[in-house]
Symmetry: C2
Subunit: 383 residues, 2 copies
């Protein structure tokens, strides 16, 4: 460095001394130490036979976690939003019709991306903090013909867990492809890709998989593959073009781009951890710890933002009481107790906190710590 600055040490180096945080925000979650150790192993080449074996293992592990038989199941080399863009730009061509269900930030983002891909987008809207009734979707599809219908499983901006039952069947009968955002849900609650008739699904590594951010697992079913193979135009993104990426992950092993090797080690180990615990036990843990937290909230006089029946266990949103400065509470928790929680986005800014209880962050002791921290932060805010 040319000289010291506030971002560097006196020796002009980028300062890597970082605090130890308890990550209870909307992501990243705490990465398991096993995952961090796996990530730090020396690199092998991205075409090394031993790395190709690891890639196959990751694909198998992801199929189990997505609960799918889909051959094309792999991590994209970007974070969750890259997975969102992957699904939409590969399945949509200019002029295609997309129905996007919007009840939060991530539904909005899907609509934005679909429009950038040249699709004609219809927005099916529900209030932020509420889920979609399958009947609403059925009605919307009855009025107009769509190529793709997309919905968010766990809306990270509101804490709503969208029930997926019935919707896949409605979309399939309509002849459209069903795309589901499972960024926050995968590894926390079961997504059941095949059972829910999902044609394309994407996730992120830094939520309930408790792996650092940097990869986005996606899975494409047979109907989605058919669309991919019958496209009339090239996928607009070269980097996210699954017609090419599938050739690197498939038998051909055609070089596309250099895979993020270390992140792949991390994901492999995080899949091992998820599968050792088991999807059912993991869902039960997320539900139980979440209940514990919500019970504790009541004792503090706090209320969850989302009704119990559609509340995402891994992301509990909490109403900010009148007269409390929500940012000051978060700052108190972070500065005094190294606890990170999130604030609201968009119309919910200043109105809710977002508490992530995801993967390795989702423990009874973290809930106890946060409740006591919140009690003190609220007392300070009201003092």
């Amino acid at each position: 460095m040319t000289g010291p600055s506030e971002n560097c040490t006196a020796q002009g180096r980028i300062d890597l001394k970082l605090p130890q945080r308890i990550l209870l925000g909307p992501g990243p979650s705490i990465a398991d130490p096993r995952v961090l150790r796996a990530m730090a192993a020396p690199l092998v080449g991205h075409l090394d036979p031993e790395f190709l074996r690891l890639m196959n293992g990751v694909m198998e592990g992801l199929r189990l976690v997505f609960e799918t038989q889909n051959q094309l199941t792999l991590p994209m080399s970007g974070t969750g939003s890259a997975g969102m863009e992957t699904c939409l730009v590969n399945l949509l061509e200019p002029g295609d019709r997309a129905a996007i269900c919007i009840n939060g930030v991530f539904g909005q983002r899907m609509a934005d991306i679909a429009e950038r891909a040249g699709a004609r987008v219809t927005r099916i809207e529900a209030p932020w903090g509420r889920a979609f009734d399958p009947a609403t979707i059925k009605e919307a599809l009855a009025k107009e013909k769509f190529d793709v219908v997309a919905i968010v499983h766990a809306e990270t901006s509101t804490g709503v867990l969208q029930p997926l039952e019935e919707i896949g069947q409605i979309v399939r009968e309509h002849g459209a492809l069903f795309v589901v955002d499972a960024v926050t849900s995968l590894g926390g609650v079961r997504v059941g890709v095949d059972r829910h008739l999902i044609d394309a699904c994407y996730s992120g590594t830094q939520k309930c998989l408790s792996c650092p951010p940097g990869l986005s697992p996606v899975t494409f079913g047979p109907q989605a593959m058919q669309k991919l193979q019958s496209r009339k135009t090239k996928v607009q993104s070269w980097y996210l073009d699954l017609t090419m990426i599938a050739q690197y992950w498939g038998a051909e092993r055609v070089y596309h781009h250099t895979a993020p090797i270390s992140m792949m080690y991390a994901l492999a180990e995080s899949l091992n951890i998820v599968l050792e615990e088991g999807l059912a036990a993991r869902e039960e843990r997320h539900r139980a710890i979440s209940r514990l937290f919500v019970e504790g909230l009541a004792e503090l006089g706090l209320e969850p933002f989302v009704p119990a029946e559609i509340r995402a266990p891994m992301l509990v949103t909490v109403k900010v009481p009148d007269g409390v400065d929500e940012a000051a509470v978060r700052k108190f928790l972070l500065d005094r107790h190294n606890i990170e929680i999130g604030g609201g986005l968009g119309p919910l800014k200043g109105k809710i906190w977002r508490v992530g209880l995801m993967g390795s962050s989702c423990t009874e002791n973290n809930v106890l710590l946060l409740l006591e921290g919140l009690r003190r932060a609220l007392a300070a805010a009201r003092a």
Copy 2:
């Protein structure tokens, strides 16, 4: 896992036992142990004030390595090809004219991406293994008006180091933006973004920066920023949209996507290592070690593919002698001695080896090891 397979252990786990390789291929290079340790630190949140401080440090470090004053200098959340796509989709709108200089795979890739962005592309071609004469480019620009002119600094598919002198001036006088691919060169030889009048430049972390793959440093100069701000259409990729990403890296800190935290730790430490050594000393090391290797090749009766004056020191391509099975040589090196080198791509498949002497891989002992390994591999191939 449901059961054991060839990719998992008998316990059904994804097997993370991987060999220790000497990485002397076209990337990834060997990551410095300091980088791997930095990467394995516990995560902080992507909006944590301490992480924002680290991001500022990374931007400062990247400016020094790119040799630029450009404010918009940051790592994109993807590998080098994501950086290529970032530069092209942000600077090109449908109907814009791009001149792409092609003398290898990565020039071809730029043309493909520019076309997907809706640009009208003119290909300026040179033989694979040769560099462009500035006069050729001047001539091409005299015939037609272009918005963007793009060229590769170190062509990873051929081992050519393109001299950048004069070209920037020609492009600027023509009124176009000058885009340079520095994926393989950055951190090995000096790129000199400001000195060479480069308007937009991108790189990767896994070459001469000796950091794992997963991030792509990019830098945009004032003219490129002007184009960005005067676009009539949205950038077609949401994930790579610099108009939004700049707001996360700038004073506003607007959430865009979750940054790959661990990779950022790794990049910060790798920038520290590069800047401790110094750009001039680092270039000298790459040139000296490269010469040592080429001298050794002569003793083995092998010849470099590229003439000395345009040979990329960090990526030496070697002609495969008649009658030698190039893949068998690579397999021998990998299986017997854990040494990875690369094969040729496209028209050079089977005709050259690609030897990377990049960053931490670029040491005298690695050259000695490879030369002796090659001697044995060639003897075996001829036996």
